[in-house]
Amino acid sequence: MKILVTAKRVVDYNVKVRVQADNKGVELANVKMSINPFCEIAVEEAVRLKEQGIASDIVVLSIGSKTCQETLRTALALGADRAIQVETDDGIDSLIVAKCIVAIAKEEEPDLIIMGKQAIDSDNNQTGQMVAALLDIPQATFASKITIEKGEAHVIREIDGGLQTLGVTLPAVVTTDLRLNEPRFIKLPNIMKAKKKPLEVKTAEELGVSVVSNINIVSVTPPEERQGGVKVASVAELVEKLKNEAKVIA
């Protein structure tokens, strides 16, 4: 079985992002960048399926500028077999990214596409669903467990109120939630090996994908700062404040 897995390069989740002074975006200069955590979980899951003898070939794909090759090398060090970068500007919208992934999926014909449920920069939570729709294949989003049985993926999904299990016929798209797995720590020899694994570069133009977007960012501003309040000394004082000052309990 062949798996296509996607990886986005984003601001590291430990970095406190700052809005640019001109309100055109967030500060990206000299900021630590990493593989999107949900994508890392996707790569880990693909590698585990290979270790279980279910998958034989893992192709990792990233869409963006040349710097995302670093992210692809991380995925190769985690255990993916080969990488493809589709060269575009950074920050293009989900639909365009989805079209690039679809173009690669049509060339590679994977049995399973595993993607992060969302990137922690744009927080869109769209691309996997769009890829599935454009390929007219089923999807199982927000996965916390994946098992492959007789040409079908059984996926436990994290939904509002609990868990849902779906059976989707392969090929299908699965998007990862946090508790699907804990990605392994990358060992140094694997970083060295990853440098020798194949990495192919294509352009959106070669794939016939237009990168014109209909979404324009007018401004990016910091959120309203919440001011800390007061410390109370006792439960009695707390209850008094909630009743008489904040008036949120009767």
Binding site: D123, Q129, K231
Partner: protein, 309 residues
């Protein structure tokens, strides 16, 4: 302009998030139709018809829509979407799962988690877990958006008298099947629509200790939530998680108990009107956003708080 809103429901009742999404539609302006796709969901359609401001209720009532699988519902929406300038769904796991398929099939972008409407083409949405707020203009012919319930007050659930129009499209999800689900059963209000939330973190120490919060919540008529740390530690199930990757809430009163206040947690609750923090570590970051902070051992003060209410 005309707007299609996709109703959130469980085949029995119309869920509150639908009412917040309808408020967003009202702010955009135009005729608003509400799609109810489900199975044995006549009751939902009747509830929907009474909601204030709804022009027509479109009812697709067929067993193929029982679990609202994204593959079939998205195609149903596409079938009727041509008549609309905007297609909106609540940013619940159902809406987030299904709506991007609609956008892709319409060949338009989607705006996720919209929290404010500036005009019929300009919207506000948080990015970077709410650490930045983006204002965006969409020039797409159809604007497809998920609406974050906490950004909008609900419209009134009654006062309307919309006509119910029955849709006869039957679109199956041939390659996706429902196997089962485990839903938490609770008499408490839903997290995302509760007016009071009592939330626990790693400081609770065990799942058993959450009973302290259950009991306080019952006294207050509140929902119970948790931080990611408490969920990862296995104290409570994941659907209680408040934060960047869990639920976003904005109740009138949020009581954070034994929660340190990691940035990912704050992203999910800092729009609450009043925040109370109870933590024995006075340096905990949660105190920087709390209106009222109580530095104390939660095992002493939570029972005391319950008694004094």
């Amino acid at each position: 302009m005309s707007i299609l809103v996709i109703a959130e429901h469980d085949n029995t009742t119309l869920k509150a998030a639908t009412l917040n999404t309808l408020e967003a539609a009202t702010q955009i302006g135009g005729d608003i139709d509400l799609l109810v796709a489900g199975s044995n969901c006549q009751n939902v359609a009747e509830m929907a018809a009474k909601v204030s401001g709804v022009n027509k209720v479109l009812l697709a009532n067929n067993s193929v829509y029982e679990h609202q699988l994204a593959e079939s519902v998205s195609k149903l929406v596409i079938d009727i979407a041509a008549n609309y300038s905007h297609v909106l769904a609540p940013a619940t796991t159902t809406g987030k799962n299904m709506l991007p398929r609609v956008a892709a099939l319409l060949d338009v972008a989607q705006l996720s988690d919209v929290v404010a409407v500036k005009s019929d083409d300009t919207f506000v949405r948080p990015i970077y877990a709410g650490n930045a707020i983006a204002t965006v203009i969409s020039t797409d012919s159809v604007k497809v958006m998920t609406i974050r319930a906490t950004g909008f007050d609900p419209v009134s659930a009654d006062g309307g008298s919309a006509e119910i129009i029955v849709l006869d499209q039957v679109i199956e999800s041939e390659k996706s099947r429902f196997i089962g689900e485990e839903l938490a059963v609770s008499d408490r209000p839903e997290l995302t629509s509760a007016s009071i939330i009592v939330s626990g973190g790693r400081g609770m120490g065990s799942g058993d200790n959450f009973k302290l919060l259950d009991s306080l919540a019952d006294k207050l008529g509140a929902a119970v939530g948790a931080s990611r740390a408490a969920v990862d530690a296995g104290y409570v199930p994941n659907d209680l998680q408040v934060g960047q990757t869990g639920k976003t809430v904005a109740p009138d009163l949020y009581i954070a108990v034994g929660i340190s206040g990691a940035i990912q947690h704050l992203a999910g609750m800092k729009s609450s009107k009043v925040i109370v923090a109870i933590n024995k570590d006075e340096e905990a970051p949660i105190f920087q956003v709390a209106d009222y902070g109580l530095v104390a051992d939660l095992f002493d003060v939570v029972p005391e708080l319950e008694k004094s209410l």
